[in-house]
Amino acid sequence: MCPLRVASSVIVPKQSHASSKQETDYMAEFVMLFRGDQPQGSADQMQKRMQRWGEWMKELKAQGCFKGGQPLERGGQVVTRQKTITDGPFAEAKDLIGGFMLIEVRDLAAASEVAKGCPIFDSGGFVEVRPVMQMNM
């Protein structure tokens, strides 16, 4: 995955246009970490939640900012500094990462704005938004 995703207009700045034009053309990557989501509820509630996520994803894809994402298993292992291996959990359930998503938007504010639409808030979770570190800076 190439972290360098800079529109050509930024690499070769256009002289004649206002700086705002450059800003809109510049895109950066952000990872959204979905934390503390509780996958429970009645069958119907789960279906409705799944469908809300589906709608959100569709919207992100339509806007062209969705770059991929995966759910994570709840279990796993932790390898400590002493190289001992223990079974998870690694965090409190309320902080556990349930999945991640990569998006491409203008800046952190825009990324957080995208995160605001996430259906995770309906089921007790929250979103951590982290910029992917850029190589050319």
């Binding site: 429970q40 009645s42 069958a43 119907d44 509630q45 789960m46 279906q47 799944m50 589906g54 998503m101």
Partner: protein, 435 residues
Amino acid sequence: MEISEQFFRREAGRMVSALTRLFGVHNLALAEDVVQDSLCRALEVWKFQGVPDNPSAWLMTTAKHRALDLLRRERTARVFAPDLGRLLETEWSLAPSVSELFTEHAIKDDLLRMMFTCCAPELAEDVQIALILNILCGFSVSETAGAFLCSQAAMEKRLQRGKASLARARALFDMSGGAVAVAERLSAVQRALYLLFNEGYHGAHPETAVRSELCAWALRLGALLLEHPASELPETYALCALLCLHAARLPGRLDAAGNLGPLDDRARAAWDRELIAQGLQLLDRSATGNRVSEYHLEAGIAAEHAAAARTADTDWARVVELYDLLLRLRPSPVIGLNRAIALSQRDGPERGLDALHGLEQRERLASYPFYFAALGDLEQRALRLERATNHFSEALALARNPAERRFFAQRLAEVGALAQEKGATCPPLPEPSLR
């Protein structure tokens, strides 16, 4: 891929039935855990990757894998379905046996077996219906409580009692058992579906969506009964015909915010023609054998209503006749009430009123708002508006939900407007009171 409404619920019912067949009915809670797990998995994966092409198979495979893991891990510590015992013990027979149980055909049988199991005679009818909604229709405890407008704690207790009783039985109902046992249990199942439907159709739930869901579930489970030779009997066809014909009226009924039955031509326009056709077809198929059940008669009445283009065109003589037969089969003041309404259509409001006042076990209708609404309606037709007003007020006071309240209030207003128009001011007359 889009999934239909109620898809998770439907799949939950299918999975829990297959898993319970595998684990044994005493491990119902374990089966429910596996279902919950599988649905959670679907939620997690599908929300990122979208719904797969065959979501039902995806879920079944997930449940099957979880079941296999569980069986391997716990087969020494736990007793699973006793009749499958040996097949689950050895590794070479385990996977194929489990796969066999998760085939489409096997799942259909499992659903039916579960439905029959839920209707065990030692369980009260309200427990049976609650179990059906919870286990087969995938309603959570609180959703089941919501459907019946009872408290979560009370429903929790009711379901626990029911499930404890199922577990004690140690075995699911044996569909290949004696014909008498199957027939006996079948009539309990039919009755439970009838009551489930009624809860949706006549129930007091304020949300129309919930009510039509309950009706749709009864129809769905009824259709399942028709797919199995042991339950595909004339009486089942009659029941399904009845449910279809009534469900067809649901749009008109619910939009009209509840009404006294098929007496409104505006509501009639909203009836679902396709369901009516289906109901009539089912009724045709029910007309074999030599036993007339109450479902046959009720479906016959519903068919008369469906056949009439307008209320005035209804063959009321035939309807009254069918109600007479029904009363003989199942004496009940509510049926008597409906018969009296039909009678009033045939012979006029005075005869209807006579019949209403002479109803057997009339005291059982003391808190039934539609009894008073019927009195009000007939008094209105007899142009005794003061009495009509009193009756509609009584009905309004007894209304059980906003839809009923709106409906009675509207009738009350109508009578009021009529009275103003006529300038009729008769002194209030003493009424035969029930309370």
